[in-house]
């Protein structure tokens, strides 16, 4: 079983410096330390502290911070800056992400690297400012119009979010694609002790970046290909890139899976609820493990499917009405029963509810019915 995250740190306790930091601010500082050249944003709860942190820190570093007149403008400012080969961050929350959908599609089409943080809140519409995972479909199934997929990384702790910020910039620049860092209102608002470990991905020399046609032919960053043959060829190129991302950037973590015959599938904050529920269920003798997708696209479907060989059943836990559930169904292809427990609207599943759902799944799949 490959466990690709949640490795215990090797550093001796005395030398570890931990600070208490709010998720939004930790993500922002991680971006600063990752070499982010420019940040564009618009105030929205529950991610406003991210914008405020950047308003202070980016000028301190001599870099660009600009508060836009809308999320629409913010993402298009980012498009302009990123088309010049700069490392650019944008952040928002759910309603703002909807406004950004247009430019996300353009940037996918014109292959502009960018990192976009979505601190999800309850929806639909104006919804609430409580935490949610209701934007899973939006993030993983394309976001804007047209045929494309974007890498989506979902941290389940503030420390992991900090690390995934650097990873997101790496992946964005390596594959020339926008990358979504999908957090939720709890990850954004909560404070956790974190180690101040930062990574700055090395700079690449981009042969596509704009800067003026000085001693070289003009460059054009665009998504328009009017000839059907040309657009199909471009789409084939995007598909090949997506296949490469699928091969190299699929990430997940497993916990307590060695002897598990029931598996909870959960990401982000829901995975932390699941972790507590698993501990409770194991106290009553159930053998439950956690499969935690870190990349939501590409989805770790092969690894999940492999678990069908040992597990009687799967429980999907989400802060939504059941969105990742569909990817779990696609991965398992009916091999094992799948149960679902979700809360919406800013409500969070409790460990108790989750244990109850595990008991129902246990009985349904021929367990002892404890």
């Amino acid at each position: 079983m490959t466990v690709v995250a949640d490795k215990p740190t090797e550093a001796p306790l005395a030398r570890r410096t931990r600070i208490l930091r709010k998720g939004n601010e930790a993500i922002a500082e991680a971006a600063v330390r990752a070499g982010c050249d420019a940040y564009f944003g618009y105030p929205i709860t529950p991610q406003a502290e991210l914008l405020e942190w950047m308003a202070r820190r980016m000028p301190e570093e001599g870099r660009v911070f600009l508060q836009a007149e809308s999320e629409l403008a913010a993402i298009n400012m980012a498009l302009g800056a990123a088309a010049c080969g700069k490392r650019v961050l944008v952040s928002s929350s759910s309603p703002g992400m909807s406004l950004m959908a247009e430019a996300m599609s353009y940037m996918a089409g014109s292959e502009v690297p960018l990192v976009v943080v979505n601190v999800m809140r309850g929806g639909p519409g104006l919804g609430s400012i409580g935490p949610s995972q209701g934007d899973y479909f939006q993030a993983t199934k394309g976001h804007g119009h047209g045929d494309y997929r974007l890498p989506v990384f979902a941290p389940s702790s503030i420390g992991e979010a900090m690390d995934l910020v650097a990873t997101s910039f790496e992946v964005a620049e390596k594959y020339r694609t926008p990358v979504i860092l999908l957090a939720d209102g709890i990850l954004g608002q909560a404070m956790e002790p974190v180690e101040e470990v930062y990574r700055m991905p090395p700079r690449q020399d981009f042969d596509w970046a704009l800067g003026g046609a000085d001693g070289r032919p003009p460059r054009v960053v665009k998504s328009l290909h009017l000839k059907p043959e040309a657009l199909e060829a471009h789409n084939r190129h995007l598909r090949a890139k997506e296949a490469a991302i699928r091969d190299a950037e699929t990430r997940w973590a497993g916990e307590r899976l060695e002897d598990a015959d029931l598996v909870i599938v959960a990401y982000g904050t829901a995975a932390r609820v699941a972790r507590t529920a698993i501990a409770l269920a194991r106290e009553s003798g159930m053998r439950v493990g956690l499969f935690r997708p870190i990349s939501l696209w590409p989805y770790p479907d092969v690894a999940l499917r492999a678990l069908a060989a040992q597990a009687r059943g799967f429980l999907v836990v989400e802060m939504s009405a059941g969105q990742m559930l569909e990817d779990v169904r696609l991965a398992l292809e009916g091999a094992r029963p799948i149960a679902f427990h979700g809360r919406t609207g800013g409500m969070v599943p409790t460990p108790g509810e989750t244990v109850a759902a595990l008991h129902r799944l246990d009985r349904r799949t021929g367990g002892s019915g404890r």
Partner: protein, 262 residues
Amino acid sequence: MTVDELTVEEEPRILYQPPELLADRSTSYCPGCGHGVVHRLVAEVLGELGLGPRTIAVAPVGCAVFAYDYLELDFVEAPHGRAPAVATGIRRVMPDAFVLTYQGDGDLAAIGTGEIVHAAARGERITAVFVNNGIYGMTGGQMAPTTLVGQKTTSCPTGRDPAFTGAPIPMTEMLAVLPGVAYAARGSVADASSIGKTKQYLRKACQVQLAGAGFAIVEVLSTCPVGWGLTPVESVERLRDVVAPVYPPGVIVDRTSATRGG
């Protein structure tokens, strides 16, 4: 007399040379369309100011999306109406670049109203070229916010009724009230004299950016013979006699004179 004796050795007199920044190829624009003239003016002005190698231009959505095929400049294609936001991002991370936007009236005055107003309000050091032909050309000649009262289009077939869809928006005058706007002018492609003046406005709008004075915009009244249902000659006549009186050409605001001691 031999053939040799007839040959006259004489230095050629160059009356016209296409600007270096204008690509040597035919365009997708319709006969009588003003975009070709405006492209040429932009290429001439940028070339004369030596700005080609440091220009990053933003193409709109509309007929002029193909500007990147005709102007030998680095280009990024913006979503519909978003060119001023895209240009803002470029401006902020590329302090030494010359940043140019090129938009039509559907792009700038309808879907992109928010972006142009805020870029102007921030005084972004960008030069905006705003080509106003009063119609959506690329999609088949629908009504734009700039369509004249009574003008018939495919989406107001009985003529624009201001009681129903409002009056034409004088975008450049609206923008000119903002302190961030260092320079705003309106030219036209109606005749050689207007084209010459338009070139002067464009040159000034570029110099304003180079001086770091703020936002600069040049609106260019232009023709759309196919969308207007007129011949190219009738189109320039309409531009001169009907359109220009509604959108009077000239310098609308110049806030650079104060900083230059009058």
